[in-house]
C-alpha cells in the first residue's frame, strides 16, 4: 500500500486550497461557468443531469480499510449514504453540493485520496488488474509501476492539454483481467532474460469507434519504460487530431497512420527523451516497491473451511463462484458482489463500505480492491476465515454468489444520472438480474458477461461483453442494440451487432431468447456461452431474436 510522502501531501493540500478558492470565486460571481468548468473538471467535479457528481480516483483499484471508511464518511456526510463504483476503478458521488466539495476533497486527502485527473484531456486514473499482488498467475505485482505512472502523469506539464483523454491499464498476468487491449495504452508485465519489463499495447478503445489495441513493442525493460511511454504519449500529443473530438483518441491516430509509422515515430522520439530519464524514476520505483511488499502470510488449519464447505450448500456455492486462486495455496481471493439481484450495479451504502473495511482489517491484511467490473475484492484471505467472512457479508446484503454469471452485469449510470446518456442502463441491468433470479437459471447458464452502456461512449464496455447492450435514443424513445461475442480478456474482441434494436420493454425478453438459444445450442454444460457463440455463430441467435424476419424470408 503506497504511503504518501511529504511531497505528495503538500502537493495535494496546495491543489485542494487552490480549488477551494476557485469554488469561492465561482459562487461570488468572479468566475463565469466557462472559466470555472475546466477547473472543476481537473478536480473531478462534473455537473450531471440532476446534480453535481464528484469522481474520486482509486489508483490501480487499491484501498486500505481507513480509506474505505473515509469513502463511507463522504457518502454519509455529504451525499445520500452511498457511492457508485465505476468501470475505471473510481467511485462517484451523485449528489454533492458545490459548497461542500472542497471539504470532501480535504477529507479525501486525509487518507491519501484525490479526484485529480479523473476528468479532462489528461492521463486518467491508471487502472490495474484487481487481483494484482494476489493472483496465482502473475509474473509480478503491477501496482508499484502503476503508482510510478500515477506520479509521472499527475500534473505532467506536457500532458495537461492533450487532444483528448488518455487511459492506461496495467496487468501482471497473461490472463488479462484489466482489459488492456481496450485502453489507449495497455501494459502487460513480462520477464525477458531475467529482466522485468512490459509488453506495450497501443490504440485500443471502445466508444463510437471501438478498436482492439495493437502491440507497439513486445518488451520494454522497466528502466526504459517511462521514457518509452513519454515518447508514445508525446507523439500522439503532437500528431493526434484536435480538429474533431471524435477522431482525437490515439486509436484513431494509430489507425490513420498505421502501427509501423507510429512505432517509428515513437522510437525516434524515445531516443530523444531517453537521456532525460537519468535513473531517478528507477530509484523511486525501488522505493515504491517497498510499500507494496507482500504481508507475512499467516498459517492456520484449513479444517474449519473444509467443514463448512462440506456441510453448507450456500457457502459452497459462494466459494465456487466468488473465490479465485491466490498465490499462497492456503489463501484465497474473495470477490464481494455489488450486484445483489435487483440492486444498482456498483453501488455500496456507507454501512456496506464499513463492513468491507472491517473485514479487510480483521481478516484481509488491511487490503481492498475495486474491480472495473464494479465489485470489491478482499485480495488476501486465509481460507479458514472464509466462513466468518461469508456470514458477515451475507448479513449485509453482500453475500450474492454471482461473480462472472449473468447477473454480474457492468452498467454505466446511464440516463438516470449521466448528462451524456441517450438511454437508461441501470434499470435494464436490474430487470435482467431479477428475471434470471426468478427463473433460477443463473448457475445453470454459467459464465456469461453482460455489459450495458447508456450511450455510444461505452463506459459500460458493451462492445466487449459476451452480450453487449447499447441504449440509444431513436426518434425520441429508448432503443437498445445488442451485440454478441465481445471479449474483454487477452483474446479481446468487439461484439457483432445482432440487427435492429429493441424497445425498453422488449430488451429483457430479447436477452432471455438469446440465453434460451445458448442453452439449446450448447454441446454440454462445459461449453460456455462465448464458446458456443464462437462455434455456432450469429445465425441461431438472430433467428431467435427476429422470428418475423425468418417468417418473411420463408
Amino acid at each position: 500500500m503506497y504511503r504518501y510522502s511529504e511531497f505528495d501531501t503538500a502537493f495535494l493540500a496546495e491543489r485542494n486550497a487552490q480549488f477551494r478558492a476557485q469554488v469561492e470565486r465561482r459562487i461570488d460571481g468572479s468566475l463565469t461557468e466557462d472559466e470555472f468548468k475546466p477547473l472543476r473538471l481537473m478536480n473531478g467535479l462534473y455537473l450531471q443531469l440532476h446534480a453535481y457528481m464528484l469522481r474520486v480516483a482509486i489508483p490501480y483499484g487499491t484501498l486500505n480499510a481507513a480509506q474505505m471508511r473515509q469513502l463511507a464518511l463522504l457518502a454519509e456526510k455529504w451525499d445520500k449514504g452511498y457511492g457508485h463504483f465505476t468501470t475505471r476503478q473510481n467511485i462517484q458521488y451523485n449528489w454533492p453540493k458545490l459548497r461542500d466539495v472542497p471539504d470532501m476533497l480535504d477529507a479525501l486527502a486525509e487518507v491519501g485520496l484525490h479526484a485529480i485527473q479523473t476528468s479532462g484531456n489528461t492521463i486518467r486514473n491508471v487502472t490495474a488488474d484487481h487481483f494484482a499482488g494476489a493472483a496465482a498467475d502473475e509474473v509480478a505485482d503491477p501496482r508499484p509501476y502503476a503508482e510510478l505512472l500515477r506520479q509521472w502523469s499527475t500534473d505532467h506539464p506536457e500532458f495537461q492539454f492533450m487532444p483528448r483523454k488518455f487511459k492506461i491499464a496495467i496487468t501482471g498476468s497473461a490472463n488479462d483481467r484489466a482489459v488492456i487491449k481496450a485502453h489507449d495504452i495497455g501494459l502487460q508485465l513480462v520477464v525477458r532474460d531475467g529482466v522485468l519489463g512490459a509488453r506495450v499495447i497501443v490504440g485500443g478503445g471502445l466508444g463510437r469507434t471501438p478498436m482492439i489495441g495493437q502491440e507497439l513493442s513486445p518488451f520494454v525493460a522497466f528502466d526504459d519504460l517511462l521514457a518509452y511511454l513519454e515518447a508514445t504519449v508525446s507523439v500522439w500529443n503532437q500528431i493526434g487530431r484536435r480538429d474533431n473530438k471524435y477522431k482525437a483518441r490515439i486509436k484513431i491516430t494509430v489507425f490513420e497512420h498505421g502501427i509501423e509509422a507510429i512505432r517509428a515515430r515513437v522510437n525516434e522520439r524515445f531516443v530523444k527523451v531517453r537521456g532525460r530519464f537519468k535513473g531517478a524514476d528507477m530509484a523511486l520505483l525501488d522505493e515504491i516497491k517497498g510499500h507494496f511488499a507482500p504481508p507475512s502470510w499467516r498459517t492456520s488449519s484449513l479444517a474449519p473451511f473444509e467443514a463448512a464447505y462440506a456441510k453448507d450448500p450456500v457457502f459452497r456455492s459462494w466459494v465456487d463462484t466468488n473465490i479465485a486462486a491466490h498465490k499462497q495455496a492456503d489463501h484465497a481471493i474473495v470477490t464481494i458482489s455489488l450486484k445483489a439481484h435487483g440492486a444498482t450495479p456498483g453501488d455500496a451504502t456507507a454501512e456496506q463500505m464499513r463492513v468491507m473495511a472491517d473485514l479487510a482489517e480483521r481478516y484481509g491484511y488491511d487490503e481492498l480492491r475495486i474491480s472495473h467490473e464494479q465489485n470489491v475484492i478482499l485480495p488476501h484471505v486465509h481460507k479458514s476465515d472464509l466462513p466468518a467472512i461469508h456470514a458477515e457479508l451475507a448479513a449485509n446484503g453482500l453475500g450474492t454468489a454471482n461473480i462472472g454469471l449473468i447477473s454480474d452485469i457492468i452498467a454505466c449510470p446511464g440516463m438516470d444520472y449521466c448528462a451524456l446518456a441517450t438511454a437508461r442502463s441501470i434499470p435494464v441491468a436490474q430487470e435482467i438480474a431479477t428475471r434470471f433470479e426468478e427463473l433460477k437459471l443463473e448457475h445453470e447458464i454459467g459464465a456469461l458477461k453482460i455489459k450495458i452502456s447508456g450511450c455510444i461512449n461505452a463506459c459500460g464496455h458493451h462492445h466487449v461483453g459476451h452480450i453487449g447492450i447499447l441504449g440509444l435514443d431513436r426518434a425520441g424513445v429508448e432503443n437498445y442494440q445488442i451485440t454478441l461475442g465481445g471479449d474483454a480478456t487477452e483474446t479481446a474482441a468487439i461484439g457483432e451487432r445482432t440487427g435492429p434494436g429493441f424497445a425498453y420493454d422488449q430488451i429483457v425478453p430479447a436477452v432471455e431468447r438469446i440465453v434460451e438459444t445458448y442453452l439449446d445450442q450448447r454441446r454440454d454444460r462445459e461449453e460456455s456461452f462465448i464458446e458456443t457463440y464462437r462455434r455456432v455463430g450469429m445465425a441461431p441467435f438472430k433467428a431467435a431474436l427476429y422470428p418475423e424476419a425468418r417468417a418473411d424470408a420463408a
Binding site: T32, L47, H50, L98, D416, D473
Partner: protein, 104 residues
C-alpha cells in the same frame, strides 16, 4: 424552409446544488416544470434564454427545452426532460425525496 417553432421552456441547473430548475414567467426559478413559462414565440424564447444566461451566479447551462401544454402547465416532450423533471429511476432521490418548493 425553416422548421416551425415548437413551444419551449428555459431550463438550467442550480449553481449551488445542481438541481434542475425552470424559468417562470414572473422571473423566478422553479424546481417544478409545470410552473415554467411555456414560450411559444421564437424571438421571445431567445430573449428569455439571454435573460437566463446572464444570471451566471445562480444558474448553470441554461438552454431551451421542448415542452407542450398540459392540464397543469408545461409537460416534457422528450424522455430526457421527463427524467430531468423527475429524478433517477433506481432510487427515490432528488426531486422525488421531498415535495419540491418553488424558489423566489
Amino acid at each position: 424552409m425553416a422548421r416551425a417553432f415548437t413551444p419551449k421552456v428555459v431550463t438550467a441547473n442550480d449553481l449551488l446544488d445542481g438541481d434542475v430548475i425552470y424559468q417562470t414567467a414572473d422571473d423566478r426559478w422553479s424546481r417544478v416544470l409545470s410552473e415554467a413559462e411555456l414560450i411559444t414565440d421564437e424571438a421571445h424564447a431567445q430573449l428569455r434564454l439571454l435573460d437566463a444566461s446572464r444570471q451566471a451566479a445562480r444558474v448553470v447551462g441554461a438552454y431551451l427545452a421542448d415542452a407542450r401544454p398540459g392540464p397543469n402547465g408545461p409537460e416534457p416532450v422528450h424522455f430526457r426532460e421527463d427524467f430531468r423533471r423527475t429524478g433517477p429511476s433506481n432510487y427515490a432521490h432528488g426531486k422525488q425525496e421531498t415535495s419540491p418548493q418553488p424558489r423566489i
